[in-house]
């Protein structure tokens, strides 16, 4: 398998939700973010996700949906902007490694499409998951959508012209104007507590078609040595074989293993890409954190995937560090970033695994 290392090395985000301005460099294959509530961890992940697919104009709606915002009105677009202020654009830029390139994305309010909405609520947009509502108020200028201005510098792209994507409301529907000539090389998946099982069946099918099931079993074998194979039943349930007279549905393994499998499938299905996991410890008992990171590190190495995750859990941080030290003691490809927010200032404290081990060993707080 050819490894292309399409990894982010750095990112800079300005004006996205709570993040006035934040810059992080020294990203490695494994990146875990910690920090107090509302310090911008999830928004940072959203910024990475947006820059992973900068011509996909539906992503803002998706990341809103991850936060439980399942409707569209002028306010929904505003939620992306710092202090709901549509007079300042959102700017996200980042460096990719191999192919070496710099990505710049500017998200602007689509003021041209601002209209006074007259109809109310409509189901049907974005696969029926988003409800279009009209809450336009005369006191605030409405925007009808977003404009993405994207540019790349790097060897891959000769033409450095801006690539424009638009999403806006047209009547009671969403309309998307996409660039025809641009081909995205990155693949990224965003997982959180609510969406973790959402695409498991589809991902497992993709993996079966790509003949990658054996590699997934190899990773799971390191957690459950008796596991021989995995299959997808016609009922959509994933079954596993541990040498008994019949296969067992994965759900009998409790909540932990199916969650780990869901993450492994996301990693396997995103080969050479990026997997973003918000609040990774959610749904896992503290004693399972080591198994979780063991599986993530093994599968990310197997499928050459860059990991971005957030956590509040000390056990999760400890397991992250110890699993990596045990599995890849010679490799300096793990970072922990703490975001410290002081009003609109965001400081980044970066640990490599040696520093992280030193802090944990001395009982000095890293979160």
């Amino acid at each position: 398998m050819k490894k292309v290392n399409t990894m982010f090395e750095s990112i800079s985000i300005e004006g996205l939700r709570v993040l006035k301005k934040i810059s992080i460099d020294d990203f490695q294959q494994f990146n875990l973010f910690v920090g107090s509530n509302n310090c911008g961890k999830t928004t940072l992940l959203e910024g990475i996700f947006l820059l992973s697919s900068p011509t996909n104009a539906q992503l803002p709606l998706k990341i809103n949906r991850f936060r439980g915002i399942n409707f569209i009105d002028d306010y929904t677009w505003r939620l992306l902007f710092k202090d709901l202020d549509i007079n300042s654009n959102i700017k996200i830029s980042g460096e990719l490694k191999k192919p070496k390139e710099t990505r710049k994305l500017v998200i602007k309010p689509n003021k041209d499409e601002s209209i006074k909405y007259t109809s109310i609520a409509k189901e049907g947009a974005d696969k029926g998951l988003i409800d279009i509502k009209n809450s336009y108020s005369e006191s605030a200028s409405a925007i009808g959508g977003l404009i993405f201005e994207y540019s790349i510098k790097g060897n891959r792209i000769r033409n450095h012209k801006k690539i424009i994507t638009k999403i806006f409301r047209k009547g009671d529907d969403l309309e998307i104007v996409s660039p025809k000539s641009y081909e995205e090389i990155l693949q990224a998946i965003f997982i959180n507590h609510n969406t973790i099982f959402g695409d498991v069946g589809k991902r497992f099918n993709d993996i079966q078609i790509k003949k990658q099931t054996g590699r997934v079993v190899n990773v799971l074998n390191k957690i459950e040595p008796s596991l021989n194979s995995l299959i997808s039943g016609t009922d959509g349930v994933i079954y596993f074989d541990i040498g008994l007279e019949r296969m067992l549905p994965i759900s009998v393994m409790g909540d932990g293993i199916p969650r780990i499998l869901a993450i492994i499938l996301a990693i396997a299905d995103t080969q050479n890409g990026i997997v973003i996991i918000d609040e990774i410890e959610n749904g896992f008992h503290y004693s399972s954190q080591d198994i979780l990171w063991n599986a993530i590190i093994n599968s990310a190495k197997e499928f050459n995937v860059q990991i971005f995750a957030t956590t509040h859990s000390l056990e999760c941080v400890k397991a992250y560090s110890s699993a990596h030290s045990r599995l890849y003691p010679q490799e300096d490809d793990l970072r922990l970033f703490r975001i410290e927010r002081r009003k609109d200032n965001f400081d980044i404290i970066c640990y490599d695994n040696t520093l992280l081990e030193s802090s944990l060993d001395s009982n000095w707080e890293v979160r």
């Binding site: 000390l314 703490r338 410290e340 002081r342 400081d347 404290i349 640990y351 040696t354 520093l355 030193s358 802090s359 001395s362 009982n363 000095w364 707080e365 890293v366 979160r367």
Partner: protein, 200 residues
């Protein structure tokens, strides 16, 4: 897990130093200094970068000092700490036993002071050099030397001998400080006390 909550932080080598400086701060009436140990002189390289990253350090700390032993070379000890701090984008002092003047005031003191070789034990022994018990300690060392015994660490042997003569035996130089066996009024502590005044 420890969160740094104070404005004043001191990093030292080990538990002995923690006990010694706690006693000295108490004696001088200096309060609210958090003392952290790195677990030996060889650990400064790993532990200082970890300590300055600890939650609360960036937000709270205004005065930060590192105190370590000179051992065989005071200048090398100072430069070693200075380099570690510089690599963390901090602003260490240019001169030994001084503080830098910046938003985060940083000081580095190399014991026993005056750019001499040695360690905390040498400093403590100097504070009691006029104590009659020290003559007994020297006699004891001479006696064992005549028997062909040459202690590997003379300063540690002498402090143990001195402490063994105290009403209640203190097992270490730091505990000796806690029990008031070293003379904190001694002139040999002037340089260290001057340095420590930055924590007031």
């Amino acid at each position: 897990m420890v969160i740094i909550q104070q404005k004043k932080i001191l990093a030292v080598e080990g538990d002995d130093e923690i006990n010694f400086f706690e006693a000295l701060f108490r004696y001088l009436g200096i309060t609210n200094v958090e003392i952290y140990q790195v677990g030996g002189k060889d650990q400064f390289k790993n532990k200082l970068p970890a300590l300055v990253r600890t939650t609360g350090f960036l937000v709270n700390v205004e005065t930060f000092a590192v105190i370590r032993d000179a051992n065989g070379d005071a200048k090398a000890a100072f430069n070693s700490i200075k380099d570690i701090l510089k690599k963390q984008n901090l602003n260490p002092p240019d001169r030994v036993n001084k503080f830098s003047e910046s938003v985060l005031k940083i000081g580095v003191f190399i014991m026993p002071g005056r750019s001499e070789e040695g360690m905390l034990e040498d400093l403590c022994l100097s504070t009691v050099k006029d104590n009659p018990i020290m003559q007994c300690v020297d006699d004891y060392i001479n006696c064992i030397n005549k028997l062909g015994e040459y202690p590997k660490n003379l300063a540690k042997t002498k402090t143990q001998s001195f402490l063994a003569a105290m009403p209640k035996i203190a097992k270490s130089v730091g505990l000796g400080a806690q029990m008031g066996y070293w003379n904190f009024d001694s002139e040999v502590l002037v340089e260290l006390k001057l340095f420590i005044e930055n924590f007031r």
